[in-house]
Amino acid sequence: MGSIGIKLLDVANPAIRTLHFAWLAFFITFVMWFGLGPLAAFIKAEFALTEPQWKALLMLNVALTIPARILIGMLVDKFGPRAIYAGLLVVSGIICIAFAWSQTYTQLAISRFLLGFVGAGFVIGIRLVSEWFPARNVGLAEGIYGGWGNFGSAAAAALLPMLAAAFAPAVGWRIALTIAGVISILYAFVFFHFVRNTPKGSTYFKPKKSGGLEVSNWKDLWLYLLLNIPLHLALLVLVWRLAPGNLNLLPQLWANVAYVAIVLLAVYQFRKILQLNLPRLRAGVPANQQYKFKQVAILSLSYFASFGSEIAVVSMLPIFFMDTFGLTPVQAGLSTAGFVVANLVARPAGGWMSDRIGRRLALCIQLGGLSVGYALMSFIDASWPLWVALAITIINSLFVQAGCGGVYAVIPLIKRSMTGQVAGMAGAYGNVGGVIFLTVLSFVHASTFFMIIAVCSAVVFVAVMFLDEPEGHMVEVLPDGTVQLIEVK
């Protein structure tokens, strides 16, 4: 519907300006967040890292993002997207520089762990863009924000190794990351100066509580609680993997502190969910406010397989290409960029596909495609011609990113008033995917890692079969322009 698109060059329009500022902020956060993988060769060489140590760094990179999303969501409620995004850019810029000048493995690990926070930037922009665009093109605007910002990981993969190579080998990677950090800090001020939380003169409503999801019946409440367990389980697994007796990178005391903190976080979350839902369920939920929680679970799993695998693969792909085909860091970076560059079009295309051929079918194709793609990737070895491996990787990435777009195309249709919370849940699952897959990687070889992702995706593919096609009124525009209602069954 809606013939009115977004005129991206109309920078006189404050909404368009805000969109550009927002995706650029997201872009910068992703450059910092995914700057790790492409620089692997340099960092491993400088610190003489063992394979487990390196893989632990990759895990640490995504660990903090899960709880950070919750915290950032609350902060945005209180202080507005403008201040929080600017603050996030400054803080993560500083951490990024700290990482760049680390002298020991411990410093590397701690600063990387803290930098996981930057992955929560996505949520802030989503809120900001939704304030600025009317319903008719907010979907497109969020698509541009998400797709173009995600492109930051491609830029990191392509540019950072080149930058690093341009300087002396020992300090090149440090300078590359420092530049990213400085740009982030400077951009924070630009962002704060030019961006406003809401259009000037728009009526301000008290923001709704962005706490837990409201479910419709007791069965769904159980399902919801169940769905929350992996969020915390992923963190527990991570700590366990780092603890003594395993990779032995975390002192026992700290591991214990982390266990307790995660359990407390889980208890707090569960309490909030129950506080919100128990009174509602006891009173009974009106029929017109009911929805199926199953849908949320299926979409979360889909995002687990698509976005989760993406952030895991982007981190390990450069090293994988270097080890398998003997590429230089710059070549490996460019190959990895190929995996993410498709984001510019693939993510919006996934949404478009969903609109056209039906939600369930689109998701089925996307997940089927990516599980086949990962299965093929698991067979890549040195005997393959490089171009075939690259082609498979890029085609697979099209499915992965289309899958991300496909998930976000269904989310607003489950229950419009809870779009934010559902998106938050699915987003968190994307991060869980990253943590889980990277933890898996710390045990196994790349080929097994790809195969495990393929199997997980196949399982999710089966789950998607149970997705109900969202129903609703449909309107039809007759040739003379008359708008008519048709009932869709």
Partner: protein, 572 residues
């Protein structure tokens, strides 16, 4: 041809032995499609004799109920509409009664009403008037008298309109049958006539008119010492059996899709998109047949299942119907039933005040005063209906020639209605950060003084193009922030603004609502006539004008004193 409800009616009211008739009654039978969507309203009220304004109260109740009831949105059920209207009326009467020393002697009246719609009768009742129904020769009293009996001789009205802020109305729904006869009486009639007598009178009379005459005459003969009133309604044919209430309940009307120029909705063709925000869309539309121009407001798809939002959207239209002022935009009645959720407002072709301000030419002082006067009239039309606009800002005022017109009802607060419990949390509009009064962000109670504050802000901006408190205002969140704001006098930006006018603006812009003008008219008066209090710029003490400077000065003096003492001590 659809079956339509048909009724025969009769009503009488006499003062009897009393000097004044404090009863009021009305029957309204719509001839258009309101008959199907709203029904026939029969209402009777007995102003309480002890109340000095009983007569007026009864009249306000009956007339107000009839006119407001038909103004409620089609999508509201009879129960919801009547309840909201009664709550608002009760507030109004109670508020007026507060002018008297004892509330009991204020504007108090009984109220009973029957609303006949398609196949049902809806009863609303408070006080000691009565509603009877005669079916198959049997007369039945449908209501219970709300009286408290002290002893055999004395009894008091326990419940009535205007006694208390809270209102408890008895509500019943009954099925209709052809031949049902409803009788509404005040205590002047049923106080002296019993069931048997009334039933006999109804049976023996040939026509309803004759029966009404007979009832009054018999009651008078029986020695009634009060005003006598009765209403008779006989059902001759039933309406269509569909339950319109259910069909039109809140969420049945679907949201319209995003419209583009050229599309048609219920005969309205979209000419252009005026505005689209995250909450709603405004289109300029023209009717295909009549050529009438209007503005169509449609809800945003973002809220398609948000009960609180839909409730507020529907209420906007209701408010638009209730407010009648040349300085407030008018609602356009749709000629055909709506198939989608939207409403229509008159189209005013003119610049908004915001665009006047954007021209960067301060407006002529006389013109601003004129605008102030008219905007105040518009706001008073809201306040008379116990409604606050809550979102007055330059974007929400459009100039029709020289005449400012207030548009947008998106943030209004209707006393009483907003307190009705619902199954969801109502949305709380906080107005626009730059223009809403401090009490919104400080969570204090909202009064018409909040609209006065916003009006003064708009006027200040018209005169100077600036915000009186600067950018810090939008950032203030707590009392500390607000007290730290510094007011820049309007004449600093625009030397043509007289001192006394700035004084008036400053008073209306007080952070503490109690320090503003008690009423809008006083504010406007001070804008038109120099108030001697504000004739000099520096009449306020230094401590109030420049607190920081004052304390610095005091400290400096104290320091000086100490130094002198120290010097004397040491030298001595």
């Amino acid at each position: 041809m659809k079956a339509r409800l048909q009724v025969t009616v009769a009503q009488r009211s006499e003062a009897g032995v009393k000097p004044r008739n404090e009863d009021s009654l009305a029957i309204h039978i719509p001839t258009d499609n309101l008959l199907e969507s709203k029904g026939v309203v029969v209402a009777i009220a007995d102003g309480v004799s002890a109340a000095e304004a009983g007569r007026e109260a009864a009249e306000i109740a009956v007339k107000g109920f009839v006119s407001d009831f038909y103004s409620t949105p089609d999508s509201w059920s009879v129960k919801q509409s009547a309840h909201k209207v009664l709550i608002a009326l009760n507030r109004w009467l109670f508020g007026r009664g507060q002018g008297y020393l004892e509330a009991e002697k204020g504007y108090v009246t009984t109220f009973s009403s029957v609303i006949l719609k398609s196949c049902s009768a809806y009863l609303f009742h408070v006080g000691d008037s009565r509603i009877y129904r005669r079916r198959d020769g049997v007369l039945e009293q449908l209501t219970r008298d709300h009286v408290a009996r002290i002893n055999a001789d004395q009894q008091y009205l326990a419940r009535a309109l205007g006694i208390d802020v809270n209102l408890d109305v008895d509500f019943r729904v009954l099925d209709l049958q052809v031949g049902d006869l409803f009788l509404l009486t005040t205590d002047g009639v049923h106080g002296v006539l019993d069931y048997r007598q009334i039933n006999q009178l109804l049976t023996s009379s040939a026509t309803l008119d004759a029966a009404a005459d007979q009832l009054i005459a018999s009651a008078l003969a029986a020695g009634s010492d009060d005003n006598l009133s009765c209403q008779l309604v006989r059902v001759d044919a039933l309406g269509e059996t569909t339950d319109v209430d259910v069909l039109q309940s809140l969420n049945r009307l679907p949201f319209p899709p995003e419209l583009a120029p050229g599309m048609k909705l219920d005969g309205w063709q979209v000419i252009e998109v005026l505005h689209a925000s995250a909450r709603s869309q405004l289109y300029r539309v023209q009717h295909e047949q009549t050529g009438e121009s209007a503005v169509m407001k449609t809800p945003s798809r973002n809220f398609i299942d948000d009960a609180a939002y839909i409730d507020r959207f529907i209420r906007e239209e209701w408010v638009a119907r209730r407010i009648d002022s040349p300085h407030v935009v008018k609602r356009v009645e749709p000629p055909a039933p709506r198939t989608f959720l939207y409403y229509l407002l008159e189209h005013i072709d003119g610049p908004t005040l915001a665009s006047l301000i954007a021209r960067k030419q301060p407006l002529d002082i006389a013109r601003v005063v004129q605008i102030a006067d008219r905007l105040a009239q518009g706001l008073r039309a809201f306040h008379r209906r116990e409604t606050l606009h809550q979102d007055l800002k330059p974007d929400n005022v459009v100039m029709r020639g020289d005449d400012p017109v207030i548009i947008d009802f998106g943030s209004v607060h209707v006393a009483g209605v907003d307190e009705i419990a619902t199954g969801f949390d109502r949305e709380t509009p906080l107005g626009t950060l730059d223009y809403s009064a401090p009490e919104y962000r400080l969570q204090r109670s909202r009064t018409p003084a909040a609209d006065q504050f916003s009006l003064a802000l708009v006027l200040y901006e018209l005169l100077t193009g600036q915000h009186p408190f600067g950018a810090a205002y939008a950032r203030a969140t707590c009392l500390r922030d607000f007290t730290n704001l510094s007011y820049v006098p309007a004449y600093r930006h625009n030397p043509l603004v007289p001192l006394w006018m700035d004084g008036a603006l400053r008073r209306a812009l007080q952070v503490n609502a109690d320090l503003r003008y008690p009423s809008l008219s006083e504010f406007v008066h001070d804008l038109k006539h120099p108030n001697p209090l504000y004739l000099t710029a520096d009449q306020r003490p230094l401590l109030e004008r420049e607190p920081l400077r004052a304390w610095q000065l005091i400290s400096a003096l104290l320091l000086l004193g100490n130094l002198i003492l120290a010097f004397l001590l040491l030298s001595g």
